[in-house]
Symmetry: C2
């Protein structure tokens, strides 16, 4: 991250000025705001949204899984320690997922163990390691280790295949590539028999509403029943595994959210924001709060209860109502909002580490 | 297609024996049944499903767009003439979409013109031509020509990028690759400004419920509003273009069908079966008939009215009820079924050409 010298000018969709540039391979990758490293700025935002707690994790390009064994581990340790420093300054409102060098499974297991001992609540991994998907033997070993350590796992899409350059335009890597990556990961885990080899105690969540998976489940299920070669080594049809994983709610559409909740069940959907990035939900929780298809209890589960249970963090009963709600909303709705938005808000919320620790 | 010598043994998910092997580049590609070339066998199936009419088209591997200019055109002419022979033996129940050598736009336009004059009702194209997507200048020129000729266009996913081999297992090319190809095509047409350059009179339909697009529209829309670089050259946000294309109903899941109909509107969804292949709907129309979220009039539109209007073919008012319904169903339901299932059944139903014309 470049935080001195030539800085980005403009808002780049953030609705505020950017104070640093996230870099990849020496090239500019994405302008970022101080919410990435400044705990106070982040908590101010959360107050504004009426959100008490947040699960934070590094943006995936910080994984550095294509670097040497030593470098990948070193980067993970640095960012993991930095994330805990942010948490310790947050008065219990931020909880962190560590990152691990999954390019070397043994190192990944050890770094997960160290991080959990230090206070992380789980781990975020990319949805594939080069050409290896999540049913890969090494990845399954790591996930078994996560289950044994009682570490929650968040899977985030990354390293999107460019489809011979066809995804290189118009951010289609984000709007086409990412949801395809996540869908592929869930399908690979199912058909590759990963869920059959993993303990049911594993808590694993896929970002962005499970990518395209919820809408494509029917197609997958039909193929499974019709062609034996579409079954891989799975012991059961795909729908059998729906109670083995969770998803976040970041689908940006009420109809999609309804399908998501109906398919996964309301206990397996957690508020996701992609905060503090422009492609995230800008008014965190607005989609879930406004979704007419949800009951009050379902809303409460999705806005906090599910995440508190999934990540094993305290469920806060009340928090200050969003600032604009305090001003603009009549008491009954405000009270409801503050109650709903109280607890842990976000499975997929990401934070880059403090600038002190970045190259 | 190999229809003599060593033939496939077994049913391969077809629920009947296979009489020939579809080949690609000299290698076995997919076992097929006589329904691919035998009009009587096909009509018997349609009778069984209570379906009067069907739109047929070649399976995309027959396009041969990677061959020489002469070969691509020659193949298209052969299959197009053969498809019309099937139609002429069908007593008005089969209607054909032609194929065109889209690797050479001028030839494609001329072959479309010839085919429409000969009796085709439209054209089926693959969702991309190598690295060129549907907003490519040449493809847009072809689509403008289709609009001028009043030819309906069906877009079918094909030539799925293998993602460095990650889609090579468990038919994931079909369950992950195909829906992402279709999603990418719709996104590319929107963000690449293709719809802005095409006349509103163009009738274009995407197979398999538009791939992953309906579920991912919210993510795409949010990105469009938040980042200028996610807009491409589109003049409007993605949702603005929903009334510019249709989709078929082949999503194999009632929740997905509901999202599809709510997103696209009931007038833009047409019964799709992928008949006669194993990954298609085995009891054609069952999903739509059984979908509790649809009104009777919506069911009728999706089962026939929309397709009749889209492809410009007669809407049959009545047809024999499905055989098993005649036996098993009490009169009121049977009457409803036969009325609903009367007209053109299928936008995406595919037929390989008669074996006479295959290599």
């Amino acid at each position: 991250m470049r935080h001195s010298g030539q800085l980005p000018t403009g808002t780049f969709g953030y609705d505020r000025s950017c104070g640093a540039m996230l870099m990849s391979g020496g090239a500019d990758f994405r302008p970022v705001t101080s919410a990435c490293w400044d705990v106070r700025a982040r908590l101010d935002d959360l107050d504004r949204f009426g959100v008490h707690s947040q699960i934070i994790s590094a943006t995936p390009i910080l994984f550095q899984w294509d670097r040497s064994r030593e470098a990948s581990l070193d980067v993970a340790r640095h960012f993991n320690d930095a994330a805990l420093e942010m948490c310790s300054a947050s008065h219990g409102r931020l909880h962190a997922l560590c990152q691990v060098p999954l390019n070397h499974v043994d190192d990944a297991c050890l770094e997960l163990e160290r991080s959990m001992a230090n206070g992380h609540v789980g781990v975020q991994i990319g949805n594939h390691v080069g050409a290896r998907d999540l049913d890969d033997e090494g990845v399954v070993t790591f996930l078994q280790h996560a289950a044994a350590l009682d570490a929650a796992v968040l899977v985030h899409p990354w390293d999107m295949d460019p489809l011979s350059g066809r995804l290189a335009r118009h951010m289609m890597g984000w709007t086409v590539g990412m949801p395809m990556e996540t869908h592929l990961s869930i399908v690979a885990m199912i058909l590759g028999g990963a869920f059959d080899r993993l303990p049911e105690s594993l808590r694993i969540c896929f970002a962005h509403g499970g990518g395209a998976f919820p809408f494509l489940l029917g197609r997958l299920e039909n193929a499974w029943y019709q062609r034996s070669i579409a079954r891989g080594s799975s012991m059961h049809p795909p729908s059998h595994y729906l109670d083995r994983f969770s998803v976040d709610s970041a689908v940006f559409d009420e109809r999609a959210l309804r399908l998501l909740v109906e398919t996964m069940g309301p206990h397996r959907v957690m508020l996701g924001s992609d905060y503090p990035f422009p492609l995230g939900e800008q008014d965190i929780g607005a989609l879930v709060r406004g979704c007419g298809h949800l009951s009050d209890i379902e809303r409460r589960m999705i806005l906090g209860g599910n995440a508190a249970s999934f990540f094993g963090v305290p469920l806060m009963q009340q928090h200050a109502a969003p600032r604009h709600q305090v001003v603009a909303t009549p008491p009954p709705l405000r009270a409801q909002q503050s109650a709903l938005a109280a607890p842990v808000s976000h499975a997929a919320s990401r934070a880059t580490a403090p600038s002190d620790y970045t190259p």
